[in-house]
C-alpha cells in the first residue's frame, strides 16, 4: 500500500514538473497536455462539487423506503425507465455516474437498476445526444439508442444474476 502511494506521488510530481517545464520552454506537446488537464480540473471545481452537494442532500432527505419502493428488489419494470431518465440528466462524464450510482445503491436500489443507470448515463446523456445527432445525423443516434438501451437492461439483469449467485456485495470502498 505504502509503496503504491510513493509511486503515485512521484508520478504526479514528474507530471507537474513536465508541465511546468513545457510552459517555460514553449514545448507544444506539454502545453497541449496541460490544456486538457486544466479543462478537466475545471470540472473538478465547478460541476463536481455541485453533484456531491446534491448527493449529500439526497442522502439526508430521501427516505430509504422511497428508493426501495421505486428502485429496489420489489420495484416494477418502471424502475429502469426512472433511472434511464435520471441518466439523461447526468452532467460531466461517465465518471460522475459512479458516485451517483453508488449513493442510490446504498439507499436500497437493486444492482441491475444501478448497472442500467451507469450504462444509460454512458449512452443517453441529453446534451451529448443532441450534439451527436447534429454531427452524425438523427438516424445514427436513433439506431444507437434503440439498440443499446435494451442491451444495457438485459446485460444489467445478467450481471445482477451472476453477482448475486456469488453472494456479491459492494463494500464501502
Amino acid at each position: 500500500m505504502k509503496k503504491n502511494l510513493i509511486i503515485k506521488v512521484i508520478i504526479i510530481l514528474l507530471y507537474g514538473c513536465f508541465l511546468a517545464w513545457s510552459f517555460f520552454t514553449d514545448f507544444t506537446p506539454g502545453i497541449k497536455i496541460g490544456k486538457t488537464f486544466s479543462h478537466f480540473l475545471s470540472d473538478m471545481v465547478s460541476i463536481i462539487p455541485c453533484v456531491f452537494i446534491l448527493l449529500g442532500l439526497f442522502e439526508v432527505w430521501v427516505k430509504r423506503e422511497t428508493v426501495e419502493k421505486h428502485l429496489g428488489e420489489k420495484s416494477s419494470f418502471l424502475s429502469y425507465l426512472w433511472v434511464i431518465l435520471l441518466a439523461g440528466t447526468t452532467v460531466g462524464g461517465l465518471y460522475l455516474a459512479f458516485p451517483v450510482a453508488y449513493t442510490i445503491y446504498k439507499k436500497g436500489a437493486r444492482l441491475s437498476v444501478i448497472f442500467t443507470y451507469i450504462g444509460a448515463s454512458a449512452v443517453c446523456r441529453i446534451p451529448m445526444t443532441t450534439f451527436e445527432a447534429s454531427f452524425l445525423g438523427l438516424k445514427f443516434t436513433l439506431v444507437r439508442l434503440l439498440v443499446s438501451i435494451p442491451l444495457i437492461i438485459i446485460s444489467s439483469l445478467i450481471m445482477e444474476k451472476f453477482l448475486a449467485g456469488r453472494n456479491f456485495e459492494i463494500k464501502e470502498g
Partner: protein, 161 residues
C-alpha cells in the same frame, strides 16, 4: 452548467430553510464523498491528458480509414475503449472523419466504446464498485458496443458492400 448551479443553490436554500442541522449533515456527507473521489480523479485526468495528446485527428483518420472493414471496426472499438473525450471534442471530430470517408459502422464502434467502456475511468469506477464489478461491466459494455456497431452497419447498408 448554469442549470446545475441554479438547481444546487435552490436545493441548498430549500434544505437550509427546512432544517439547518440536516443541511449541515448533508454538506459533511458531500465533503466525505468528494474527498474519496479526488485521488482517483487525478489519476484519471493525468491519463486522459496524455492519451488525448497522442490521439490527434490525423492519427485517428489514419487508423480508422482502413480498407479492411473488420480490422477498422476492431481498431475503432479498441481505441474507443482506451480513450476518453468530452462530447464537444468527439462529435465534431466524428463529423470530420465521416466526411473523409470513415463509415458509420466504424464511427459507431468508436463512439459507443468511447462512452461505455472506460479504461481511463477505471480508477474512479474501481474506487466505488471494486475490481470485479468494474471489469465485468466494462466487458459487457464492450460487447454491447460491438452489437450496436453491427446494427448501425445493417441500417446504413454498409455491411453488404
Amino acid at each position: 452548467m448554469k442549470i446545475l448551479f441554479i438547481l444546487t443553490a435552490a436545493c441548498v436554500i430549500a434544505s437550509f430553510v427546512k432544517d439547518r442541522k440536516k443541511t449541515k449533515q448533508a454538506f459533511k456527507k458531500a465533503f466525505k464523498k468528494f474527498e474519496k473521489m479526488v485521488p482517483p480523479f487525478f489519476t484519471m485526468i493525468i491519463a486522459i491528458s496524455i492519451v488525448l495528446y497522442f490521439l490527434s485527428d490525423e492519427a485517428l483518420l489514419k487508423i480508422l480509414d482502413n480498407d479492411n472493414r473488420l480490422l477498422s471496426v476492431i481498431l475503432a472499438s479498441l481505441l474507443g475503449s482506451v480513450s476518453f473525450m468530452p462530447g464537444f471534442i468527439t462529435y465534431p471530430l466524428c463529423g470530420l472523419l465521416l466526411q473523409k470517408g470513415v463509415t458509420y459502422t466504424v464511427l459507431s464502434a468508436f463512439t459507443t466504446t468511447l462512452m461505455m467502456v472506460g479504461v481511463l475511468t477505471y480508477p474512479v469506477e474501481k474506487a466505488y464498485f471494486g475490481n470485479r464489478v468494474t471489469i465485468i461491466r466494462n466487458l459487457a459494455g464492450f460487447a454491447t458496443a460491438l452489437i450496436v456497431a453491427l446494427a448501425t452497419g445493417l441500417v446504413f447498408g454498409e455491411l453488404m458492400q
